[in-house]
Amino acid sequence: MTEEVEGKKVLVIQTHGIETPRRTYSPLFYAMAAAAMDMDVLVWFTMDGTSQLKKGAAEKIKLEPRSDVTLKTMLERAKEEGVKLRVCQQSMNLFDMTEEDLIPSVEVLGAASIIELALNADLVMYF
């Protein structure tokens, strides 16, 4: 590790949802790695990514057939590591979701917020 990284702002944009389980895992893993390295990490769920955050959805997504790790496990671990989870208001509307449909500790933000977050981030990862 050659440079100080703590406090850097990392924005992970996740556009993939429960229909494509293999695309759900890595972004959360990278987010957790960055959080473990004391960075300030936020995952922004938009477009199909919104479906990951619907109550009851993530526990049905098993990432490996033999593993007991589900997408819910990953989302909970990410939160435990301090990763902030945010969801796009407009995408929620697309899925007919309200705040009551969301798993705990997810905040809803509007489109302007993502622009500001991206402008202020040291690193943006888009999936």
Partner: protein, 156 residues
């Protein structure tokens, strides 16, 4: 003298100090430094460790990242149990991260640090029966499965 206690398949050494919530163990060395690593419970939960990304120098405050440990299903930090200066990193882990699995309390040590304010911060470290009990509670609450399902644990 037996200085290990088994909780399920996980081993706790009673001659070490622990920050149970961080899954971190600490050994007090004669030269005043501390050797730090992750516990057998943590390596069982993580599964085969694939990478250990280690800080090699610098000052660390208590709770800051010393290393980032990755398996195929988990990634997390080894947090500084106390504030101090990194004096030695276990570079063998870069070539053989599996040492953390095979010998978490031995060759799989991660870091040696020179503490800055040990007297002030050591109160958070648990040892002996107190540490075992705290870990037993934590395992019951969170990770019984991880400790129960791991089939093999090589000598620590």
């Amino acid at each position: 003298m037996n200085d290990t206690v088994n909780i399920g398949k996980c081993v706790i050494r009673t001659d070490l100090h622990y920050l149970v919530d961080s899954h971190c163990w600490v050994r007090f060395n004669d030269d005043g430094t501390l050797t730090v690593g992750i516990t057998d419970v943590a390596q069982n939960m993580a599964g085969p460790v694939l990478h250990v990304y280690i800080r090699k120098k610098g000052m660390r405050q208590k709770g800051q990242n010393l290393a980032t440990i990755e398996s195929s299903k988990w990634v997390g930090p080894l947090k500084a149990p106390v504030s101090g200066e990194i004096v030695e990193a276990n570079l063998a882990l870069e070539k053989d991260p599996g040492l953390v699995n095979r010998s978490p309390y031995g060759d799989g040590w991660v870091m040696r640090i020179k503490p800055l304010k040990l007297e002030e911060e050591r109160g958070a470290l648990l040892s002996g029966a107190e540490a075992v009990e705290a870990y037993r509670r934590k395992i019951e609450e969170q990770s019984v499965k991880a400790c129960a399902e791991v089939a093999e644990c090589e000598p620590k």
